[in-house]
Subunit: 220 residues, 2 copies
DNA sequence: TGATTTTTATACTGTCCCGCATAATATAAG
DNA sequence: CTTATATTATGCGGGACAGTATAAAAATCA
């Protein structure tokens, strides 16, 4: 009996998402959602260590005290940015992963979507947040490392599911190993993410993807 | 007649490598080679932005002015560290790449050597300098980016050469594409480098490698 | 209107940072 | 022994940094 007092059993008022409940003090001058998006953009371009709170303040339009009030310190903001990135990536990639196309087409779509994510950015290609975080913060910070491990495992699993289904549908030979194919697909993702950061042109990345797909599901 | 005065034509004294030519002033208290090695170790663990000159000074045993005198500013030191890393990697991997074993065995050796490099480190696995630099400095710094691109291309080429030779020796089917296989091998390298940084255990990385080798040269 | 609450805006603190100026030290040459 | 040279050692200075204290502003409630 901790969470509920002896209140009436009728349903709680539904916690409407975007219904502002008439907040009391001075209204905020920012929308947390968009501010977090700006912070994410900046972290993706410059990484954790090279991004200062002043940069973040300028990018979000919030001054430092507001940043602290809304998101906590720099590390917490980084973590929340990463969560946001993952939520977004999951939403975008999830659609492609869960459709019912032939494997080849599905893979083409998955990698094309990944390339869109990695190559976007005004200040240059921003790569993959997971790969960049693995390189910088994951070794020393257990919480962040757990998130990275989770992201890596999730991608492996999504690909494995994809190949397993293709095998069941008879699109792959009987001796194909979905787990191995999945790790190879993930490796291709990691590789194009790294290369994107080095400004390797999209055309070249697409060639890498095409070759990898041929290897995984056979030449067209 | 710029380099040589009208001196006697007898052979110049051979520029012996490790023969100290009786330097003039106070002797250095450090060996540049080992100092650079220490700097490299530190950069590999913490990355560019998160490594301070004080850290470098402590690690190398040189105080800051000596660091500047010997290697230039922080960025130059980073670049020289990276060159050192590449020279070393080339030396170690070059041996394995240039032997004459069957592809499968050669690949096993290559990936095992890479894993040794990526998993070494007292403060945790240090991953691949190229991958880490791609994630951090390569986008914004043209010189460093050129080095990263070079490193990526060099690995691709080494693998391609390896597969081309295997194909000539009849170890691969006639329709095998060495370039595609090479990029897949490189991708596997990048992937285990990323995962190593996330402290994925070696056993798991070895499983990834084994699966990838099976895909590339056929199941044993 | 006046009190309360929540947020914004300014400014401060102590720390760390990079790069360099200066002085001290240790060797070789004259 | 004196001078020249090359390095080490100390420490300074301007600036950026993360985080916070304090004051001003803008809304609701009484």
């Amino acid at each position: 009996m901790v969470q509920k007092k002896n209140g009436p059993p009728q349903g709680d008022p539904p916690p409407d998402k975007a219904v502002e409940p008439k907040r009391r003090g001075r209204p905020r001058a920012y929308e947390p959602e968009v501010a977090l998006g700006k912070a994410l953009d900046l972290f993706r371009s410059t990484g954790f260590a090279a991004t200062s709170l002043d940069d973040l303040s300028a990018a979000t339009g919030m001054n430092r005290p507001s940043l602290y009030g809304a998101f906590g310190d720099k590390r917490e903001l980084y973590i929340k940015s990463y969560q946001r990135y993952r939520d977004n990536a999951r939403a975008v990639m999830g659609d492609v992963f869960s459709n019912d196309w032939p494997v080849r087409r599905q893979l083409e779509q998955i990698f094309a979507t990944a390339l869109d994510i990695y190559l976007s950015g005004e200040e240059g290609p921003r790569g993959c947040f997971t790969v960049m975080t693995a390189g910088s913060e994951a070794v020393a910070d257990p919480d962040i490392r757990a998130m990275v491990q989770n992201a890596l495992a999730e991608l492996d699993k999504a690909f494995a599911h994809c190949f397993r289904r293709a095998k069941e549908k008879g699109e792959l030979p009987a001796d194909a190993d979905p787990a191995v194919l999945a790790r190879l697909a993930s490796a291709t993702i990691h590789s194009i993410a790294v290369r994107a950061r080095a400004r390797v042109p999209r055309q070249e990345l697409e060639a890498i993807v095409a070759g990898a797909i041929d290897m995984m599901v056979g030449k067209r």
